[in-house]
């Protein structure tokens, strides 16, 4: 069993986010878009998704996505 709280978390900086949708394209496993195109994070980042999550963080043109250790 994985240790509780060991997974990374994705946080959206809402004032910075402009709903470009890049994070959704890079990490559809975890991110959905609401009706206005803003990301909805589905849960913690599992180790398998960590690389894709980092790519989404770096890919955000508004630098509005952050990866926090669990």
């Amino acid at each position: 069993m994985r240790e509780r709280g060991a997974d990374h978390q994705l946080r959206v900086d809402w004032p910075a986010c402009q709903a470009r949708g890049v994070c959704f394209e890079l990490l559809p496993e975890l991110i959905e878009l609401d009706d206005w195109g803003y990301p909805v994070v589905g849960g913690p980042v599992t180790p398998e998704l960590l690389t894709a999550a980092r790519a989404a963080v770096h890919g955000c043109p508004r630098m509005a996505l952050r990866l926090l250790p669990g």
Partner: protein, 183 residues
């Protein structure tokens, strides 16, 4: 390598640079317009924008190196960054040097983007437009092929493509202003 070869390489890298930098600018302009579900995914155009800019930087190094190595024109290595004092075509060289300096600024600030923050990075990144325009002007002023029809077609298509991308982006609705998608 003889001077004729260096001169051929210098001219050809210059023209390929025009194409690569134009494509980089167009992709960068259109990426901002990107949205989920478009025909070309944003991460594809972003990766192309990034990799083409790196390819363009390598070409720029080759372009400068061949100009410096060519003994026929008196261009020294420090003219790569200092925009004055060239004996050959001082204006044309200086415009190209300024473009190079701006490219360096854009590359360095992008490398440290996370430390710089969005605002500072964006302000410097917008200088890429100026770098592209100066690079084009440099080609027109100093290029020995400027009078050729094919060269003028190249220059005007570059201007047309970037202008079209800017118009397309300004006409597109702001990403957050779009209507709600059907559920």
């Amino acid at each position: 390598m003889n001077d004729a070869m260096l001169w051929f390489l210098n001219r050809s890298t210059g023209f390929v640079l025009l194409g690569v930098l134009t494509a980089t600018v167009v992709l960068g302009v259109l990426t901002v317009r990107g949205r989920a579900g478009s025909r070309v995914p944003v991460f594809v155009s972003r990766a192309l924008h990034r990799n083409l800019s790196l390819f363009g930087t390598a070409l720029l190094v080759a372009h400068i190196a061949t100009a410096v190595a060519d003994e026929f024109v008196d261009i020294r290595w420090w003219h790569a960054v200092v925009p004055w004092g060239a004996a050959y075509e001082p204006l044309g060289v200086a415009v190209g040097t300024l473009a190079t300096d701006l490219v360096i600024a854009v590359m360095v600030t992008t490398a440290v983007r996370a430390r710089l923050g969005l605002g500072g990075w964006q302000r410097v990144h917008q200088l890429a437009y100026l770098a592209w325009a100066l690079g084009l002007g440099h080609g027109l002023v100093i290029g020995t092929d400027t009078g050729e029809t094919w060269a003028l077609v190249g220059y005007s298509s570059a201007v047309g493509l970037v202008a079209a991308a800017v118009v397309a982006r300004s006409l597109a609705p702001h990403p957050t202003a779009r209507e709600a998608r059907p559920a």
